[in-house]
Symmetry: C2
């Protein structure tokens, strides 16, 4: 049902990553205004004071707009897509963790022992890991998809992290994963990531795409000291300063991003084209979503912010994306942990709209007004 | 398995509500320092950067302390105890909703159509409604427990809401419900409430027990206009000013509280005596928890704050309780909705501690330090 390796695409016209992206972008539609209007109306009839369920009501309206029906079906089969990649910038000393932790954690995901596995089991989600850019060899199976585009990025401190073609290939992997997961019946996709050093390219994307200074968006990632933070900030500032003024979003991604970021860009656009909601994880997903937003503004309407990370740049990303995080518990793990914790809240929002009684049906007196 | 009406208590020595309270208070023990130390140690071994799961790690440590073992069992059988009562202060015009909505919503809970029913089904929780103070007659069954202490409070604007004996009786109902639910195998109790007008006694309790001015703790409840808010604030200030300086917490509860508040006080103390964790809902639970804290400081160690309500006084309550809310989504519904949304997060925290691999067991390299 979920074969390793590339799937044979149904659309024979699609022959290159660039064509796949263009084809997918053309299928991204705005949300349904009709369904959202119906959801707003229905919320007002339910046995509760108007607005008393706060953000859950907004989520239910968005889900109606995504599904194009009211009430929208409650998402019941979540899949976490964990994109894994390595980062040449690690050579600059931006993280105290060795690069082999990335592949070690891929094996931990495969064995089911990582945080995201535990959280996914708790809410009935499956975990799929996509090797889109791990530096060492990874064996593909039903859980870990072997879709490596290149064995880690080049050092973004000294030159482009990857070529534009590689960025497009990694985006195409993400689109393909979204299609495969939707074909397998998953009705909500959660983003995840694994890559030692990947808060550095995230900070570069955040700085480049929101115009926020490097020292504001650069954070401590998995935990670095003041000296390393100063170095990391300098690396981010230097890389962003190198970007050409006429760089388009994919140029920016190729120059200072990561392969897992590119995969998540594809996942977002691919899911949007299929009208499947996406729950974003933390700062890596947030920075990738900024790229997706710059390519396809409509694609972000399909996204919910699973949580707000401790990473300072995530705040800037959420502000630019105009998304309100559902969980805010000082998490800074990645892997999709925050998105997975948010899934029950998203599902609850849809169930409320579907299952609650109305004042009329329950025979409850309404407010005197 | 869950008979309506009072259960026959095992302890024949307990003959009065006051004796039951004293007996229960004597059984409330501090959390286990040993189990919490073990949980902290174990968190440091799991395959993630130290502290990367933020508040979830703190919750897991608290659950270990509550259970007295590490890892603690993950709560698997939640019950929402929705205490329902009416309020004489409604005569002052503090709410636009008519009193009969309370009993109407009790019937809605029984039929399964209210928000808390939907949210409870979504996370596998049962809903038990306790008529501890509804003004009109309520029929008891397996879902709705007929434990009425009085048919609504008196108007707290003009005199005591209830007698001290009635407050003690309602606390005893809460203790008994905690015992019955624990006996039935529920391993986490969630507080809920229903009572038109009950944010007014909540604001009184908040003002009296935190020393915060009435105009800070009084909010719009289910939605009132500026004029009604001014009136409500005046009612709260007047009632609190009437309290004798030597009033003990139960005197305060009797003078300006509600019967559902008293029920929740009992539930908290009863659950703590059984070492069962309690997830508090919003401002009604928060104000009741302040009473529980004043009676038994140790009982609050068994509580988690399910969410932060929009009601302004809830912030003051959480600060005094030293609890951090798990969900913060602009909810202001009550019923236990916020607590129920938080349950999957609490369960996830325990599962993380139990099921995650360690660096050693997964063979993942640890940080260079």
């Amino acid at each position: 049902m979920f074969p390793p390796g590339p799937s044979i695409r149904k659309n024979a016209r699609v022959t290159s990553p660039r064509n796949l992206l263009d084809d997918t972008l053309a299928r991204v539609q705005p949300l349904s205004d009709d369904a959202m209007a119906q959801a707003r109306e229905r919320q007002a009839l339910l046995t509760k004071p108007a607005g008393a369920l706060g953000v859950l009501e907004e989520v239910s309206i968005q889900l109606a707009g995504i599904a194009g029906t009211c009430p929208p079906p409650a998402p019941a089969s979540p899949a976490v897509a964990v994109f894994a990649g390595d980062h040449g910038v690690l050579a600059q000393g931006v993280s105290p963790w060795p690069q082999e932790v990335t592949v070690g954690m891929v094996e931990n995901f495969r064995a089911g022992g990582a945080a995201v596995n535990v959280l996914a089991r708790a809410c009935g989600a499956v975990v799929r890991v996509i090797d889109v850019g791990v530096a060492s060899e990874v064996i593909g199976d039903d859980t870990v998809l072997a879709r490596n585009v290149r064995r880690g990025t080049a050092d973004l401190a000294t030159g482009p992290a990857m070529s534009r073609e590689e960025a497009e290939q990694a985006i195409a992997v993400g689109i393909d994963v979204a299609d495969q997961l939707a074909d397998a019946g998953h009705d909500v996709l959660l983003t995840g990531d694994m890559g030692i050093g990947n808060t550095t390219p995230s900070a570069c994307l955040l700085a480049a795409l929101t115009g926020t200074p490097a020292d504001v968006v650069t954070g401590r990632g998995t935990g670095i000291d003041d000296e390393t933070l100063a170095l990391k900030t300098q690396v981010v500032a230097g890389a962003v300063a190198r970007l050409r003024p006429d760089a388009d979003p994919i140029d920016v991604l190729a120059e200072v991003g990561g392969l897992e970021h590119a995969g998540i860009v594809g996942l977002i656009i691919g899911a949007a084209a299929r009208r499947v909601p996406v729950i974003l994880d933390g700062v890596i997903a947030g920075s990738a979503a900024l790229v997706a937003q710059a390519i396809s503004r409509d694609s972000i309407a399909y996204c919910l912010a699973g949580h707000r990370s401790v990473e300072p740049g995530h705040r800037a990303a959420l502000a630019k994306l105009e998304l309100r995080p559902l969980v805010d518990l000082d998490l800074r793990l990645g892997e999709g942990s925050g998105a997975t914790l948010a899934f029950p809240l998203v599902r609850a929002a849809a169930l409320i709209l579907d299952e609650m009684a109305t004042f009329d049906s329950a025979g409850v007196a309404n407010k005197d007004n």
